[in-house]
């Protein structure tokens, strides 16, 4: 974050426009973990190096054309060409290569225990948490939470199309390929919210395939994971009960699971703790009444070609009840 601030300080008006991408929850220039920090350092070294080289080269041009226009001896000329044209690039590129190769394995360093399997679906993320020793996953969707201060292993695959998982503030991107498993490990350090995005064009709603990721203190993460593993809360108010009846009678449970109920579908996202997630429909809306109602009734207007059909035959009262039930799934 420091480099952005410093550059911004140089020119208070124009630079914020140019550097708008530097800040916010989806910026590779604001690292929140070891892997992103390493990539950030690599970027800064390359940038600074490029600037130094550019200045030096232009300095040489300037020197030889304007300051010192004398003829050099052949020997002197050869020395400059061999030194600056052969040895210097070989050393610079060679050491960058050595450094790059040396830090590459750390992007796939073994995790400290927690494994998260993420499947790229059309166009959302199926997320399964496998704590060490677990024989069944804790299923969630469209949000990935990490404990701060340890290395988490992400095992990635995809359903139909190739996707790519990228949380710029936490690390590099990794392709998700149907029928194959790719591995990415991340070591987040700073608690907070980071936005992730599919980074491989995957069809009509590629741009609407995002997610929130949350880095939490290890204790908070454990408490959250225990809550995530628990069954859903029961509807309390009459409106929520009516919402659950509509959920059942419209057959929502054929595709969506809500653990602790009769709804066990596995086609679409697990909704057991939908209301504790920070976004709806894979990072494009919020889990609140109006967005839920709009989403359920107009899925394909909002997100082209998504598998969930628009339930446009439900009236406002039914949609509100359904939304009230979903909002209660903390």
């Amino acid at each position: 974050m420091s480099i952005c601030r410093r550059i911004r300080a140089l020119h208070p008006v124009a630079l914020p426009l140019l550097l708008g991408g530097c800040d916010g929850p989806q910026s590779a220039l604001r690292p929140g973990g070891q892997d992103a920090a390493q990539l950030y350092l690599l970027f800064v070294v390359m940038l600074v190096g490029a600037v130094v080289l550019w200045l030096a080269l232009n300095g040489l041009f300037f020197y030889f054309t304007r300051v010192n226009q004398q003829q050099f001896s052949l020997r002197h000329g050869n020395r400059i060409i061999i030194g600056a044209g052969v040895i210097l690039p070989t050393v610079v590129v060679g050491s960058l290569l050595a450094w790059g190769l040396s830090i590459m394995p750390s992007q796939r360093a073994p995790g400290d225990g927690l494994v998260i399997r993420v499947t790229g679906e059309e166009w959302w993320w199926r997320v399964e948490y496998w704590p060490p020793g677990a024989d069944a996953p804790i299923v969630s969707a469209n949000e990935i939470r990490f404990p701060a201060g340890s290395r988490t292993e992400l095992r990635l695959t995809a359903r139909t199309y190739i996707h790519s998982l990228w949380i710029p503030s936490l690390g590099g991107k990794m392709d998700m390929i149907p029928g194959r498993e790719t591995v990415l490990t991340l070591h987040p350090d700073l608690e907070g919210f980071y936005r992730g995005q599919c980074a491989e064009f995957c069809g009509a709603s590629h741009a609407m395939m995002a997610f929130e990721s949350v880095v939490m203190a290890p204790d908070d993460f454990d408490a959250w994971l225990a809550h995530e593993a628990a069954p859903a809360s029961r509807p309390q108010t009459p409106m929520q009960v009516r919402g659950q009846d509509i959920f059942r009678d419209e057959g929502c449970g054929a595709c969506h699971a809500i653990r602790g109920t009769e709804f066990t579908g596995s086609v679409g996202p697990d909704l057991t703790h939908l209301a504790s997630r920070h976004s709806l429909a894979a990072g494009i809306m919020e889990v609140e009444r109006d967005d839920l109602m709009r989403w359920i009734a107009h899925t394909r207007d909002i997100k082209p070609q998504v598998a969930m059909p628009p339930y446009d035959w439900l009236d406002a009262e039914e949609l509100a009840a359904l939304a009230a039930y979903l909002e209660s799934l903390e």
């Binding site: 009678d249 057959g251 929502c252 054929a254 579908g265 596995s266 086609v267 059909p309 446009d312």
Partner: protein, 347 residues
């Protein structure tokens, strides 16, 4: 004037005169459209030969003919549709059509004569496509060539010698009314049973048949025999109609059918979430104990995108999208074998 120019002017003049003569025929009513005298022999020959060759060229290949064409239930379904939709013009076996129909130009061939020279694939093409300028209509539903095979099964039975007595048995009217002819106690095992459906669902289906939202040539014809004002009462009556006893020598459903129905898979929504006893939505049909052949046919239509219905039809298009042929047959057998829940039982 050059020779070329003479030719061009002559041709242009001839074309002008021909256009004027044509316009005179159309606008002054010079051509006599009376059907009294029939066609000239040569016109009749040209029209009929053109028709025969068009059918031969376009009929589906013999391998498209389903292998259950001799299934008595299919023949009965075809016979009952024929009796209501086609008999007026082609007459039943051993009978002749009414004098008015026989005065048509061309007169519709009596059923034994109509079937004598055609193979099943060709009959299918004629029944589905109709014959222009002859009075023979096309099948009144788009994309439902599958239904036409029932009529072809019946026509093939006629060709094999099905006589008036057999016909009378096949098409015997039901004392429970017109609909019960297929859906009632003596109904065919190809038609769905209605006693497991709610009046609301049946009313939605009837509306969809009327508007064409659910394409079916057989049902579009059947529903056109009923006064739309009576649909609500009809739906209530039909949902009490006791079905035909079945003896399907049922294939045992494949083992994974129950798993798909109960929990679905990552591609397939769980059938029983909507069609199970827990669901109280009257617009979603119960499938327990439904006719296997019907379930199978409908699942294929859903999967192939040719089935319509009410607003919720979109759900079944998604649900059936990933089913394989094997899974469709297994699921149809599974639901056909499931016990019918007692509708008065609250659970």
């Amino acid at each position: 004037m050059s020779r070329l120019r003479v030719i061009a002017v002559t041709l242009a003049a001839a074309a002008g005169i021909a256009a004027l003569a044509g316009a005179a025929v159309v606008f002054l009513g010079l051509y006599n459209t009376s059907a009294k005298s029939g066609h000239w022999a040569i016109t009749g020959w040209v029209l009929h030969t053109t028709f025969e060759n068009a059918v031969e060229l376009r009929a589906p290949p013999p391998k498209a003919v389903p292998d259950d064409l001799e299934d008595p239930a299919l023949i009965e379904l075809g016979a009952r549709h024929f009796d209501s939709a086609c008999r007026m013009c082609h007459a039943s076996p051993g009978q002749v059509a009414g004098a008015t129909v026989r005065a048509m130009v061309p007169p519709p061939p009596q059923i034994e004569r109509a079937t004598a020279n055609w193979q099943p694939a060709e009959m299918h093409w004629i029944v589905e496509q109709g014959v222009k300028m002859s009075g023979m209509p096309a099948w009144p539903a788009e994309g439902r060539g599958d239904e036409v095979w029932a009529v072809v099964a019946f026509l093939s039975a006629v060709k094999r010698g099905l006589g008036p007595a057999d016909y009378a048995t096949l098409t015997e009217p039901s004392p429970q009314g017109y609909c019960a002819g297929c859906h009632g106690r003596q109904g065919t095992v190809r038609a769905p049973r209605l006693d497991i459906l709610s009046p609301e669902y049946i009313a939605t289906a009837l509306r969809a048949y009327r508007t064409g939202a659910r394409p079916s040539g057989i049902m579009a014809h059947a529903i056109s025999q009923v006064d739309p004002a009576a649909d609500a009462r009809l739906a209530a009556d039909l949902s009490d109609l006791p079905p035909a006893p079945r003896d399907e020598n049922g294939q045992a459903p494949a083992a994974d059918a129950e798993a798909i129905a109960r929990t679905g898979s990552i591609d397939i929504p769980a059938c029983l979430s909507c069609h199970g006893p827990g669901n109280r939505n009257p617009l979603i049909p119960s499938l327990d104990g439904q006719v296997r052949a019907y379930l199978e046919q409908q699942l294929f239509l859903w999967r192939d995108g040719r089935r319509g219905g009410g607003a919720r039809a979109v759900l079944m298009h998604e649900a059936a999208d990933a089913l394989t042929d094997v899974q469709i047959r297994a699921l149809a057998a599974y639901f056909a074998e499931r016990g019918v829940p007692d509708r008065n039982d609250p659970e």
